[in-house]
């Protein structure tokens, strides 16, 4: 009998606690914040410096996708002929079937051009069965929104900055060690 009463006391205590400070959220009115690493639907990024997508349509994400939810094609980049862009090829057509996507993030990992990201978009309901098949302009829109919200920096740029900093630190350490070695030799 005692343990049942103890359990009821616990329930009562947390009822009052919950009235003071609720644990739950009134979801549609109060959207849940997502974590920085949250993996929502994949989206394509926009290179605002040049004014074209990062994607070159190289198909590496399509070959690595476990569910074959994407398709793409590539074309010659008109901006490259004019000398504005360093990309010789550019994406012509890209489509992701977000109903089929399992949000695993493999496409982001294998991409060599920082062209695809897992956005924070996760609330997309449509009325048709194929309504979640998003083509290039839609994907770029989601990507632009994500880039703005998170102040996105391309991962390769980040990695290069990190490597440069490490190299600089190493060089500084070597320089600091050199005079010491030189004095030792002199001795």
């Amino acid at each position: 009998m005692l343990n049942s009463v103890k359990g009821m006391m616990l329930t009562l205590a947390s009822t009052f606690q919950g009235l003071k400070k609720p644990v739950t959220r009134e979801y549609p009115k109060q959207p849940t914040p997502v974590q920085p690493r949250f993996m929502g639907f994949p989206a394509l990024t926009w290179d605002s410096g040049v004014g074209e997508p990062f994607c070159t349509g190289c198909m590496v994400c399509i070959r690595n996708c476990p569910t074959q939810c994407m398709s793409a094609s590539m074309m010659d980049n008109p901006l490259n002929e004019e000398g504005q862009s360093h990309r010789r090829k550019i994406v012509d057509y890209f489509e992701i079937n977000l109903n089929r996507c399992i949000l695993c993030g493999i496409c982001v990992e294998v991409c060599n051009f920082d062209a695809i990201v897992m956005s924070h978009e996760h609330e997309m309901s449509t009325y048709e069965r194929n309504g979640d098949r998003v083509a290039l302009p839609g994907l770029l829109d989601i990507g632009k929104k994500y880039q703005q919200e998170t102040a996105w920096i391309p991962p390769t740029v980040l990695a290069k900055a990190k490597k440069d900093a490490e190299d600089a630190a190493k060089a500084a350490a070597a320089e600091a060690a050199e005079p010491a070695a030189a004095t030792q030799e002199a001795d």
Binding site: N3, S4, L10, S14, R37, F38, P66, C104, I106, E109
Partner: protein
């Protein structure tokens, strides 16, 4: 009036809330007594093992996420270990610790879900709310680390996807005291409750010999008094560096299985605390793991302790980028095989509790 006993056929499931998924039992009942039972599985069969043969090695991790969908990290670990063993790949120390911390957190999350559902099965609604609150906290941490609450795809062959986030230490030091409280609360509210004891004690008992014959593993076997845990019997990863106990039951009834799971949550908390103290710095993925994975021809069997028992993976490679065959030994499936024996001669009302105490996940049973 003629009052002769008549056997009746009662169809339970597949869309029954107490069958924990899509599991169907055909019960032959004599009044309130169960005479015989015919389990039907396969409603959630997705052909995962066959699908594995068509996917590249790094893509298969996503399939393992979806087998036991309440213990995703533990599943990913077994598969990654199998491929690493086949390739002879050494995993960086830090990655091993990250894996252990996440797996033990996942074990607590899985057992908390169990506490919630066994409460519902026994007729108590409140413990579910307590248990899910704790589980939700763990899943928020998982989201911060891996980017997904359940289907993480975070472990890699040769390490993990990326290092822990910068504010991880802050997050885990906030979480652990809360989690300890959650585990204690879910223990206090249910385990020694008189009604719960009457519902579970001396119900669905099985002897140790029989349990071993049925291939029981995990908390179901330890509830019978057999001290067997793969983490101790055949330590994998870095489990040999931690000091923890194996909780063991006495009679092998439903309550013992419940008690073992509750105690295991405390042990998992102990392991996490030790791992956080020992965790070294450095790389989290070996450089070999970043290339195209093409293990040499050969076969390997790897097993590990999941929240439900021993999960084994038998992987056969023929030297290409896809496995030749991948067989999974799911703990839930072997534990469920005893359902006919456990339910025989029990009451209809107890059948739900007995099934709940086995803690099956149909995604793993059917694969």
């Amino acid at each position: 009036m003629n009052a002769e006993p008549v056997e009746m056929l009662l169809n339970m499931g597949p869309q029954h809330p107490s069958t924990h998924g899509v599991f169907r039992m055909v019960l032959w009942v004599d009044g309130e007594k169960i005479v015989d039972v015919e389990p039907h599985i396969g409603y959630l069969h997705r052909g995962s093992e066959k699908l594995c043969e068509g996917e590249q090695y790094h893509q298969i991790i996503t399939l393992f996420d979806r087998m036991d969908y309440v213990a995703n990290f533990n599943n990913e670990l077994v598969y990654c270990q199998a491929v690493e063993k086949l390739m002879g790949l050494a995993v960086p120390e830090r990655a091993e610790y990250v894996r252990v911390i996440l797996c033990e957190l996942n074990r607590i999350a899985s057992h908390l879900l169990y506490v919630g559902t066994i409460g519902l099965d026994a007729g108590a609604m409140t413990p579910t709310m307590f248990a899910f609150r704790g589980r939700e906290r763990i899943q928020s941490l998982f989201e911060a680390i891996s980017g997904a609450r359940m289907m993480h795809n975070y472990f890699r062959i040769g390490g993990v996807k990326e290092d822990l986030p910068d504010n991880f230490e802050q997050m885990i030091s906030d979480l652990l005291p809360q989690l300890k409280e959650d585990v204690e609360e879910s223990d206090r509210i249910l385990t020694f409750n008189e009604i719960f004891l009457i519902r579970l004690k001396d119900v669905g008992g099985i002897s140790a010999e029989e349990a071993i014959d049925f291939g029981f593993t995990g908390p179901c076997l330890r509830g019978c008094g057999v001290e067997y845990d793969v983490r101790k019997a055949q330590p994998y990863s870095v489990y040999d560096r931690f000091d923890f106990d194996i909780p063991v039951g006495l009679d092998g009834d439903c309550w013992d299985r419940h008690w073992v799971r509750i105690q295991e949550m405390y042990e998992s908390l102990k392991i996490i605390e030790q791992a956080l103290q020992q965790i070294p710095g450095g790389e989290v993925v070996s450089s070999l793991g970043r290339r195209l994975i093409r293990p040499p021809a050969g076969e390997v069997y790897v097993r590990a302790e999941n929240p439900r028992g021993e999960l084994g993976v038998h992987l056969i490679s023929n030297g290409t980028d896809r496995p030749y065959r991948l067989k999974v030994r799911p703990p839930s499936f072997c534990n469920l095989s005893a359902i006919k024996r456990l339910l025989a001669e029990s009451w209809i009302a107890d059948s739900v509790v007995i099934l709940g105490s086995l803690d099956i996940v149909l995604g793993e049973v059917d694969r």
